[in-house]
């Protein structure tokens, strides 16, 4: 029966525990065991990120194409699915130019800083039931703190290129990320207040009887919307892509980058996109928690049979799709409008919303 269940529900936690057992029997030394496990986790994470970026790149092109009544990539591989691989190969073989007047040390460091900061934030994410790299007790706070570092890589890239467009792009990104962090923090805090913990696994567990977006009524819905808007701005995607602003700044902070160094910015953009969507899915949509309706046990049971990883990725890609949908619909904001939107609309509303949520938490007005 247990075996049968596993056939239906492919479980990452089962895989992880068995791997752990196997390694434990094979390697006696605890230090070596730790190193091996870290290596396995790191390599599989890297492989996952690369595959994820390939997929997201393909998805973005196809979403864009279908929204723009065209076909998108359809030559390389089946339905053009290998187009992004071809592009990566092209970028790999391109010359990694370093401009003459640039600060060469910082110029070459910046892409790595950007990628590393985005990769760090992936550690506490729960990909499936009991499958988490690092269940740190300050999960959410950790992610926000790491994402506050992201701006530094962009500032470094923009400044060290010694290109005026890059510099303007970097300045814009600084103003943008620093201010939108506030809204993100406040919208996350509303869920932290309701669930009473910063630990991601606790937050997911608190949604066992219903996702926060359903349990939390309108205030949580508002903070969800604010989170989506602010995180779109935080990861510099259209309509908030003022740092790149192709038509204004010819590429913004990465104007001077080419080849692999440019690919790293692209990589970090997609990782960031995945992370904010995963966080939104975890915090508001219950992470890997399946969808349950009240006392419909039959329906709930059927939902339980869908693997938890599928739930997580389904929700995450739903939010990724929404953010892509934004990008391929809206024109770009101007810098002062961007700041006005944050300081005059999102921040006051999310502050008031936090008050409402606190009241909800104090009086137990949720489910």
């Amino acid at each position: 029966m247990e075996k049968l269940h596993l056939l239906f529900v492919f479980s990452f936690s089962w895989l992880a525990s068995h791997l752990n057992m196997w390694l434990r029997t094979g390697i006696g030394n605890s230090f070596l065991l730790l190193v091996t496990e870290m290596l396995i986790a790191g390599i599989s994470l890297l492989a996952f990120l690369v595959i994820l970026c390939f997929f997201l790149g393909y998805m973005e092109r196809k979403v864009a194409a279908f929204m723009e009544i065209r076909l998108g990539p359809n030559r390389v591989g089946p339905k053009g699915s290998l187009q992004i691989v071809a592009d990566t190969v092209k970028l790999l073989f391109k010359e990694g130019l370093t401009p003459d007047g640039s600060d060469k040390f910082l110029f070459n460091l910046a892409p790595f800083v950007v990628v590393v900061t985005s990769m760090l934030a992936i550690a506490p994410l729960a990909f499936a039931r009991d499958f988490q790299l690092w269940d740190v007790n300050i999960g959410i706070f950790y992610v926000t703190s790491i994402s506050s570092m992201a701006v530094i890589g962009i500032l470094m890239a923009g400044w060290s290129s010694s290109n005026k467009y890059s510099l303007i792009g970097a300045m814009r990104s600084g103003a943008q990320i620093v201010s939108y962090e506030l809204s993100i923090g406040l919208s996350l805090i509303s869920i932290v207040i309701l669930s009473g913990s910063l630990r991601l696994s606790d937050i997911i567990q608190s949604q066992a009887n219903g996702w926060w977006i359903f349990k939390g009524h309108i205030p949580v819905l508002i903070s969800f919307i604010i989170f989506i808007i602010a995180s779109t701005a935080e990861i510099n995607r259209a309509p908030f892509d003022l740092t790149e602003a192709e038509q204004e700044l010819t590429g913004g902070f990465h104007t001077e980058y080419a080849g692999m160094k440019f690919a790293m910015f692209l990589l970090s953009e997609y990782i960031n996109l995945f992370i904010v969507s995963a966080i939104a899915a975890t915090i508001f949509l219950g992470g890997w928690m399946p969808f349950h309706i009240g006392n419909l046990t039959g329906f709930n049971h059927a939902m339980d049979y869908i693997p938890s990883s599928l739930w997580f990725f389904g929700k995450t890609f739903f939010i990724i799709f929404i953010i892509m949908w934004f990008r391929w619909t809206f024109p770009r904001l101007r810098i002062d409008q961007l700041l006005n939107l944050e300081w005059k609309y999102l921040l006051p509303i999310s502050m008031g919303n936090t008050l409402l949520v606190s009241a909800m938490a104090v009086f137990g007005w949720y489910l």
Partner: protein
């Protein structure tokens, strides 16, 4: 904290002593290769932060000497070269040249040719405005509208290809009429395109016109007063957005525009949003004009009889038309020979460009892109 500027903060030119820039100012060269200049225009921009203090347009990157070239081409030949000026209203440029020659010769154009010319000119105007709409969406960061507009524009270009043989630089007009008669599919396809445009125009409004981000990018940006529009010589939608009545089709009708019912679109706000609405309304006006003509194209000749070698009488001849971007004037000085003695084009974009520094005073870089988008510059027309 009032402080006087130190002399060391000002950089001056070593030779002329001219003040080049002040401390804290930031000079950016926008173009000649820049995604938003739509061609090889170079704008030298003095910035303070992101605010524009001064703009200096630098021209000449695509100067081909079309005016000089025209002086060695015969009156039949020189029409084609004007297609390469404002390539988005190539047909209307050709029409201007032909009209100038006809005016000089006192040639009467058959009514069928006139009707064909007007229909094609209005189709060109619609196609040009579609492209402008697509590009202004693109300039402001929305990529998707671009493809929606190109869907209709392609249909118009297909009609052009079928009747004129070319999609963009048609060269369908000859002195005294048009080159050949309409294709037998023409009326059917034009009607289909008109319904397609009218059916799809609401999508344009949904994705861009009604969009709050787009509106805020255009409203109260790039103000040009009516007085400034006059003194800079602005014409076309750029000036009509400032409340200046300057539609040549109304003021100096040609080729039978006087018999048609259409409105001159004027908005008084003078900002980018007004210029945007002028063009959007003009699409509908052009559709209206074509609808009046398409079922009642007169029968008869499509070309008046002209001599093999056209020689203009001695004198000076000027003809203006309304292109998609404003007033195009063709000035021909003839010494009685088979080629013009002097040929001069008054192009709308050159004058409209000169108003951009005025419009962009105190604007941001993002606003400059919006201004460039709504003025709708075609760079080869500036340089000629």
């Amino acid at each position: 904290m009032q402080m006087t500027r130190k002399p060391s903060d000002i950089t001056t030119d070593a030779k002329s002593g001219e003040v080049l820039h002040h401390e804290g100012e930031f000079i950016i060269n926008m173009g000649p290769q820049h995604p938003a200049t739509h061609g090889v225009l170079h704008l030298k921009i003095w910035l303070e932060g992101e605010t524009i203090k001064k703009i200096e347009p630098h021209l000449g990157y695509i100067h081909r000497g079309i005016e000089k070239m025209c002086e060695r081409l015969s009156y039949r030949q020189f029409i084609f070269s004007t297609s390469r000026m404002d390539y988005l209203s190539a047909h209307i440029n050709n029409q201007a040249c032909a009209l100038a020659v006809e005016k000089a010769l006192g040639l009467e154009v058959p009514p069928r040719a006139k009707a064909i010319r007007i229909i094609l000119a209005e189709l060109t105007r619609i196609a040009s405005h579609e492209l402008w709409w697509a590009c202004s969406g693109l300039d402001l960061g929305g990529v998707t509208p671009f493809f929606y507009a190109f869907r209709e524009r392609e249909a118009i270009n297909d009609i052009m290809e079928e009747t004129c043989g070319a999609r963009l630089t048609q060269n369908f007009i000859v002195p005294g009429g048009v080159m050949s008669d309409l294709h037998h599919n023409f009326q059917k396809r034009v009607k289909r395109v008109l319904t397609q445009i009218k059916d799809n125009l609401h999508e344009y409004d949904e994705i861009l016109t009604g969009n709050i981000i787009f509106q805020n990018r255009l409203k109260e940006v790039g103000y040009l007063s009516r007085e400034d529009a006059i003194s800079y010589g602005c014409t076309g939608p750029a000036a009509r957005g400032s409340g200046l009545s300057c539609d040549i089709r109304k003021l100096y009708p040609y080729d039978g525009y006087e018999k048609l019912d259409f409105d001159e679109i004027i908005f008084n706000e003078g900002d980018c949003w007004a210029r945007y609405r002028v063009r959007m309304a003009e699409i509908l006006q052009s559709v209206h004009i074509i609808e009046q003509l398409i079922d009642s194209i007169p029968d008869g000749e499509f070309q008046a009889k002209t001599k093999n070698v056209i020689k203009l009488p001695k004198g000076q001849f000027y003809q203006r038309v309304e292109t998609a971007r404003g007033e195009l004037g063709v000035f021909i000085v003839s010494d009685g020979a088979a080629t013009p003695y002097r040929c001069k084009f008054r192009s709308p974009n050159f004058s409209n460009l000169s108003a951009i520094p005025q419009m962009a005073q105190g604007a941001k870089i993002g606003d400059l892109v919006a201004i460039m988008a709504t003025v709708d510059l075609v760079i080869p027309d500036i340089d000629r």
